[in-house]
């Protein structure tokens, strides 16, 4: 008699029970079961319109992948954070699905990560409790230090990666019409620090007030993401061009930086060898006497691009400032994330509910405790 068909289910059941015992609380990332995460985040409970996706590979989920998920918990940030949190309300909609992608292959487009079994498991107002400063580190998984979102329908993961999608909107009291602006940061992990951008050369853009140096949002430069170059300047809106290149030392045999004095822009220099020009309008910021602009560069999921250095510089049209009529900012260089190691978490975020594409951050996640049936 072949006992394997009989033994195999029994072994699997035993193994599952063993795994469940190994992950009694099923906290993700499990490293932070009894350890406060190094950062805080506004995941789900920031009082402004935001759509997020969180991709968690099943290897991090432990035995929950063989059980039904019935809810999740998020705990407040602790560590050195002794803030007293005020009560508030926010509206949250949570959709779970079995993602066709892994965290490592997440895309900035929301639809690319969402599985066909997408199920709304929570849709309602969340009462954020008033919370004193935590006396334990990490904060305990009990109210008011933690918030529980019970699912209205259980969810069973059918693939390698769980996709948690949240849509957050401010809560407006239906009677008074007032809204609360709660601040309830949750304990989170952001993975390793991304490489810092390097500044290349000076800027010749001298106005009052002095424009901030051109920069980047470094952790957006990941495969499948959208890298962001930023510039802010004085209050008057104007046109600028973001020059993007792959070298900061050579432009078709021309050594860089290259002085532009002879072209009528004294004190200015070309810092990058551009292969791409992104025209941008620097617009008035919502506050302060300044303008802001950003240029976004879609980065294909091509392993050959991992670690590739990128260089950027802004040319700002400033008629009358010199014969060339342009100011040239400092250059900035940033490497596309080299992708060392396999990320098990990916976070996509858009600052509204209508954008189909957000910004992708690897290895960023809140610390989550899953509840099972």
């Amino acid at each position: 008699m072949n006992l394997i068909p009989v033994i195999r289910p029994a072994v699997l059941l035993t193994l599952t029970a063993h795994l469940a015992a190994q992950f009694p609380a099923n906290v993700v990332p499990n490293t932070y079961l009894n350890l406060d995460g190094p950062v805080l985040s506004d995941f789900a409970f920031g009082a402004y319109e935001t759509r997020r996706q969180l991709l968690i590979d099943a290897v991090e989920l432990g035995p929950s992948r063989v059980r039904q998920l019935a809810g999740l918990q998020l705990r407040r940030n602790a560590g050195g954070d002794q803030d007293v949190l005020e009560a508030g309300r926010v509206h949250v909609r949570v959709t779970l699905s079995s993602s066709p992608r892994s965290a490592a292959t997440a895309e900035a487009a929301f639809t690319a990560n969402r599985g066909q079994d997408a199920t709304v498991v929570f849709d309602g107002v969340v009462d954020l409790p008033a919370c004193p400063a935590p006396t334990t580190d990490p904060a305990p998984w009990v109210e008011p230090f933690a918030i529980t979102l019970p699912f209205t329908v259980p969810f069973r993961l059918a693939s390698r990666t769980l996709c948690i999608e949240t849509e957050t909107t401010p809560y407006v009291d239906p009677i008074t019409g007032t809204r609360t602006d709660p601040w309830w940061p949750v304990d989170s992990v952001s993975g390793r620090d991304s490489e810092e951008p390097s500044v290349l050369g000076p800027s010749c853009w001298s106005e009052n007030p002095t424009p901030a140096p051109a920069c980047t949002v470094p952790n957006t430069f990941v495969l499948g993401g959208r890298g962001i170059f930023t510039l802010s300047g004085p209050a008057t809106p104007r046109t600028a061009v973001c020059l993007v290149g792959v070298s900061g030392t050579d432009f078709n045999g021309l050594p860089l930086p290259f002085a532009l004095d002879m072209f009528g822009a004294p004190g200015c220099s070309l810092q990058v060898a551009p292969f791409l020009q992104i025209p941008t309008t620097l617009m008035r910021a919502p506050a302060g006497p300044r303008t802001e602009g950003r240029a976004e560069l879609p980065i294909p999921r091509d392993g050959n691009l991992a670690g590739l250095p990128l260089f950027a510089q802004w040319m700002v049209f400033s008629p009358g400032t010199n014969i060339l009529g342009t100011n040239w900012t400092n250059g900035v260089s940033i490497r596309i994330d080299p992708g060392l190691g396999v990320p098990r978490f990916a976070w996509v975020e858009a600052p509204d509910l209508v954008s189909g594409v957000g910004h992708l951050y690897m290895r960023r996640t809140p610390v989550i405790r899953f509840i099972h049936n």
């Binding site: 050195g80 004085p234 620097l282 919502p286 691009l305 600052p351």
Partner: protein
């Protein structure tokens, strides 16, 4: 560029319709801030660097520390304090500065 080709890009102009007095990824203590006194700032968003600016003075770029915190000590004199993370509407905060004299 062989296999390292990058696609066309797009520009995203700065936002003009946000209300920077509303909810934000930034929190300041004390709120409102007071000129000449320290301000404790907590940032909860994903950016590694953020900027703040007082009136028309040059913007200051800061890397928030552990738990998203950084300190402005003391807050320079001025009328307005503004924060930005360059990541859209929730990434702004505007506060009027309380004058002590």
């Amino acid at each position: 560029m062989n296999s390292r080709s990058l696609p066309s890009a797009e520009h995203r102009p700065g936002t003009t319709s946000a209300d920077p007095r509303g909810p934000s990824r930034f929190k300041v203590q004390p709120d409102p801030p007071v000129a000449g006194q320290p301000v404790e700032v907590t940032y909860s968003g994903p950016a590694k660097f953020v900027e703040y600016q007082v009136d028309g003075q040059p913007a200051v770029r800061v890397r928030p520390g552990a738990d998203g915190k950084f300190r402005i000590d003391p807050l320079p004199s001025g009328d307005e304090l503004m924060f930005s993370d360059n990541l859209g509407i929730p990434g702004y905060l505007y506060r009027e500065i309380i004058q002590t004299h």
